[in-house]
């Protein structure tokens, strides 16, 4: 990998090591074994006869398993090359490592193999923000196992290390004294098992979980890939990107303890391996035509945790969908509010959007009926709790002023919401896309009320509210002189008038008056927003524009996938194809794994997409972007019990087939042929797809 770090993961457990398989973490760097937002191993260093090993190669076997080939010494000492060392590691509830040493010599060899082990039990938030610990460490050797323990009051986290071969254990690691015969081998299994112990629980010594185990995980991945639609395409990189997306999505599956072992997408490695309202919902929407069960789990889990009371510390309200759940020490001691934290203004309307879209694809009315109360509570939240200014819009302002989130929309960095001249508005803020989501939630809620909950009066009321919201929105947010929607309203009702990608989400929501759509589209694919790879988060020319500013100029693949969906919704097929072409082109440069964000430089300037420095990867909604783009390119749309296919593919893609698309129609195949010329008048930068220049 580009950063020289090797990552394997399964749900919210992951291991990040160097290319030797060693872990030597400092407080501030995210290497180690992590589970439930806690580092369970910060030191894991292998040496043979006192010297460290050198990496020859690393095989990424699966997302949960990797193999390191090593040799002792510096590589210049010939005598050492008579040995090979292989570490094969799989993640589970902790990890399992098979350590093998091969003697290539015709003489026997005596070796001292040492593994130094240790742990700081840092909370991921501490790693991110470099905070220090308040509890105490106790290491002990007991019943042939090394136990690393961290205790703070009744909070106990422990890591238990054991080996199958005879070893001498001390409080800082394991030592093996061994002899390997001529051309012989020696091997040991090493188990590193994590445990979270509660009040009165015995310090049992758990075993490495065989529940799923390596073979179970392999079978699970095979089934996951088998169940998803198959792709046939003239353009090979798209096939590779599709497969990469499916595998990464499998890796990011997370099983929260509420939904009977089913999985939903966690947000991303390394910082966000947990349940997020917004990320889990948007990723589930992107993946609906491919893996609809993710949406089901997301709806159930977020519904189970739906806010039920007013709690200022957690920014919780009745009906509100959570923002983020965490399990680490800072959350446990309420130094952070993530148990769970609710400060998010979009997940609640998006919850209703996902519920409706899920029903349209799957026909699973049973689930929609069983979540009626949750959906009604979410719709009620929009009017009852989110309208902080009493003017019929969703506003956000944190009540937890110490550790709550200031910006509760997806562009959550401090400078993301600005006026053209760069000034930042005060709080509360009403960003435009929130109003679009509220409109869509009301319209979709009305459909569910009429068709599934059999409450036509409620449906009428929701539609009336939606129509009224749309009318006001198109008046209050429309920037007359330049013909686009303002990024937000400030507390005085004035427009926060920067031009931003949020306009694309407005198309997706359907809140845009038809007569205004053309002008909005002109901006989205115009030179200020469209850079050739995709739509920038903020338009060039705005005071805060910066092509490598997190939410003020970079291109976010997930953002673009929803913009493309919005363009399709208003009938702008060719423009949607152009965005798909740019983003999928970029995916090829990242070996099929789109990062969270990349630089918003003009494509003709850099000729390749420039990765944003600290972007999270893989990240769920970037992983979902190619899936949603496949949907928009093929024009897949459920209509009644049928799947309508209305393709508009970029010319370079050639023939595209998506076979066995699951849904209420059972399984259907979708076909398309590239015809949309995305090159404009400029020369192609790549042979397969166009530059998507500014025409």
């Amino acid at each position: 990998m580009s950063d020289g770090l090797i990552k394997i993961l399964d749900g919210n457990t992951f291991v990040v090591s160097d290319e030797r398989g060693d872990i030597e973490a400092s407080l501030t760097d995210p290497t180690g074994l992590f589970s439930f937002d806690t580092r369970f191993l910060s030191k894991w260093v292998l040496s043979v006869n006192g010297s460290r090993l050198n990496p020859l190669s690393v095989d990424d076997l699966q997302y949960f398993e990797t193999r390191f080939f090593l040799v002792p010494g510096t590589g210049t000492v010939y005598v050492d090359s008579k040995l090979s060392v292989i570490r094969q590691r799989a993640v589970g509830n902790g990890f399992h490592e098979e350590l093998t040493i091969l003697n290539h010599d015709d003489k026997p060899v005596d070796l001292t193999v040492r593994i130094d082990a240790g742990c700081d039990f840092a909370d991921l938030f501490e790693v991110k923000d470099a905070l220090s610990k308040k509890g105490k460490y106790v290491n002990r050797v007991e019943k042939g196992r090394l136990q690393l323990v961290y205790e703070r009051d009744r909070y106990v986290r422990s890591t238990v290390i054991s080996a199958s071969a005879p070893a001498r254990l001390d409080k800082e690691g394991l030592t093996f004294k061994l002899k390997i015969g001529p051309h012989g081998r020696w091997t040991t299994d090493l188990d590193v098992v994590t445990a979270m112990l509660g009040y009165g629980e015995r310090h049992e010594l758990p075993k490495f979980g065989r529940g799923r185990g390596r073979q179970g995980m392999e079978r699970n991945l095979d089934k996951w890939l088998d169940d998803a639609p198959r792709i046939e395409c003239d353009w090979d990189p798209l096939k590779a990107t599709y497969r990469r997306s499916l595998v990464d999505l499998a890796a990011l599956r997370f099983t929260p303890p509420v939904v009977g072992g089913r999985s939903l997408p966690a947000a991303g490695l390394p910082w966000f391996m947990t349940m997020f309202g917004r990320d889990s919902i948007l990723t589930s929407l992107q993946a609906l035509p491919f893996t609809p069960e993710l949406a089901k789990t997301t709806l159930l889990a977020l519904g189970a945790w739906q806010g039920s009371r007013i709690d200022d510390f957690r920014d919780e309200d009745p009906g509100r969908i959570l923002h983020e759940m965490r399990y680490g020490e800072l959350t446990a001691f309420e130094e952070r509010p993530h148990s769970p934290y609710y400060g998010c203004a979009d997940a609640t309307p998006l919850y209703v959007v996902l519920l409706d879209e899920y029903e349209r694809w799957t026909g699973d009315r049973k689930l929609v009926r069983s979540l009626e109360l949750e959906a009604r509570a979410a719709l009620n939240w929009i009017d009852e709790y989110a309208d902080l200014q009493g003017d019929g819009y969703i506003w956000y302002q944190r009540r937890n002023e110490k550790t709550g989130l200031e910006n509760q929309c997806w562009k959550d960095s401090w400078d993301s919401i600005s006026y053209r001249d760069g000034r930042l508005p005060g709080f509360p803020r009403a960003t435009c896309e929130l109003q679009g989501y509220a409109y869509d939630a009301k319209m979709r809620g009305a459909r569910l009320a009429r068709e599934v909950w059999k409450d036509p009066a409620f449906a009428d009321e929701l539609e009336k509210q939606a129509a009224e919201l749309k009318r006001r929105f198109n008046r209050d947010f429309w920037v007359e002189d330049d013909e686009y929607f303002a990024l937000a309203l400030d507390t005085e009702g004035k427009q926060v008038d920067a031009l931003a990608s949020n306009n694309g989400h407005l198309l997706w929501s359907g809140i845009v008056d038809k007569a205004k759509a053309k002008a909005v589209v002109r901006h989205l694919i115009g030179p200020r927003l469209f850079c050739g790879w995709g739509v920038r988060t903020l338009a060039e020319g705005e005071a805060r524009f910066n092509p490598i500013g997190y939410h003020v100029g970079t291109v976010w693949p997930f953002d673009n996938s929803f913009i493309a969906w919005g363009l399709r919704r208003y009938g702008f097929k060719d423009e949607a194809a152009r965005i798909a072409a740019g983003i999928l082109d970029a995916a090829e440069f990242f070996d099929g794994r789109l990062p969270e964000a990349f630089g918003g430089y003009e494509r003709s300037l850099t000729r390749f997409p420039v990765q944003y420095p600290t972007a999270c990867s893989p990240q769920a909604w970037s992983t979902g972007a190619p899936l949603l783009l496949l949907r928009t390119m093929l024009g897949l749309e459920p209509v009644g019990d049928h799947l309508v296919v209305d393709p508009a593919l970029p010319a370079g893609i050639g023939h595209l087939e998506l076979l066995d698309v699951p849904g209420r129609w059972h399984r259907v195949d979708a076909f398309g042929r590239g015809r949309v010329d995305v090159n404009g008048k400029r020369a192609s930068l790549r042979p397969q797809l166009g530059v998507g220049g500014n025409t």
Partner: protein
């Protein structure tokens, strides 16, 4: 009998059907530790129908904590999820039942009025 905890469980038993718990069926046993004494409550949820008893039987999930912790959780002063992560509440069995249970708990006492304009001026 512990005051807040007892009152909380008795009130819970009187609430009868809880629509929010309609997807839930299961039993949760509460062990309230008061020095050497252990007070037991059994919460039974059957598709949203809630019943509370003092039966001393096995349950799908057992929550065990000191009396002082339960008092604070039952009055909304302590968050049950954070207390569980902290080890102040021990869970044994099906930990998923903690999620619906915590929704029955009151919110924390309010220190100040929430930010919210009155209904006047809406629908401008």
């Amino acid at each position: 009998m512990t005051e807040t905890t007892g009152a909380f469980f008795e009130a819970l038993g009187r609430r009868g059907h809880q629509p929010l718990l309609e997807k839930i069926s299961g039993t949760v046993r509460f062990e309230v530790v008061d020095g050497k004494r252990v007070e037991r409550w059994l919460l039974t949820v059957d598709k949203g129908d809630v019943a509370v008893s003092r039966k001393n039987v096995r349950a799908d999930c057992t929550l065990r904590a000191d009396k002082a912790v339960f008092e604070r959780v039952a009055s909304g002063k302590m968050n049950a999820m954070a207390a569980t992560l902290r080890g102040d509440i021990a869970i044994d069995g099906d930990s998923a039942l903690l999620v619906p249970f915590q929704r029955l708990l009151p919110g924390p006492p309010r220190r100040r009025r929430r930010l919210r304009a009155t209904a006047a001026g809406r629908r401008a």
